[in-house]
Amino acid sequence: MTQERFISLVRAEQEPLRRFLLALCGGDAALADDIAQDALVRAYVASGSFLGLSKFSTWLFRIAYNCYIDHCRKVRPDQTSLEDAVALPASETSDASFRYQQLYQALERIPEKEKAAIALFYFEDKSIKEISAILNMPQGTVKYQLSMGRNHLKQYIQL
């Protein structure tokens, strides 16, 4: 795959990819973009192995998710806190801002797999089959993670 072709494919996928990672990183846009850049480099290096058997976006999201998991393994759990989950500007005290804050804080409290399944299903409108390929788990497990994720989020989000 040429660099131009790769860039054109990435251009189309950059927004969903960054949004997915933003949800995983609890609203930390800088961290999400850093992981996205790492994922793009990894994807570019491995682009020769992309045979087109799955969608490019599925393949890219899988690499991004693996990068995120690698990042989580590197960062010690005590280095992050729920207060750091949202870095919204102080001026954004609107209702929407509050909802995002609530959402990110709730997402930070649920397990990684549930968070990823929720983000892919509700924010990226991916099918169960695609999520199964991205997260490398059976479709039944994806449904279970979604169900558990919804139940957990219900406890943390005031509607």
């Binding site: 860039i7 950059q14 960054r18 219900k154 509607l159």
Partner: protein, 122 residues
């Protein structure tokens, strides 16, 4: 459960438009290309060095064989002569040789230790 699903669908995280994102990705890809080219170049040099070494080895082997055929020597006489000269050299210089050998052993152990330390940092 419907409420939470609606909440999630209505509150998708918003990504700020960042034109530098793709430019940064392109810059990193250029860097990857640079590294790839350098690795290829080094691999090519390595292959070339290997071929040159093989050719030189072959040439020297041919020359040595030719000399051996052209100027045959009595192996026993030559071998005995060399062994005698080595024995004489060691007997004469054994006290002076001890120091360089010890220094060489220390230097070698230091090099090996530093090599291990530098590998462990990556």
């Amino acid at each position: 459960m419907k409420e939470i699903e609606e909440f999630l669908r209505e509150n998708k995280p918003v990504v700020k438009d960042d034109p530098t994102f793709i430019l940064e990705a392109q810059r990193r890809m250029e860097a990857v290309e640079g590294i790839k080219a350098e690795v290829d170049r080094q691999r090519c040099y390595g292959r070339l060095a290997l071929i040159i070494t093989l050719m030189v080895g072959l040439f020297l082997g041919v020359v040595a064989t030719a000399i051996a055929y052209l100027y045959p020597l009595d192996a026993n006489t030559v071998g005995q002569g060399i062994l005698d000269s080595i024995r004489q050299f060691l007997t004469t210089w054994k006290q002076h040789l001890l120091l360089p050998v010890a220094l060489l052993a220390i230097a070698l152990s230091l090099v090996l230790m530093s090599g291990k330390r530098s590998r462990s940092t990556f």
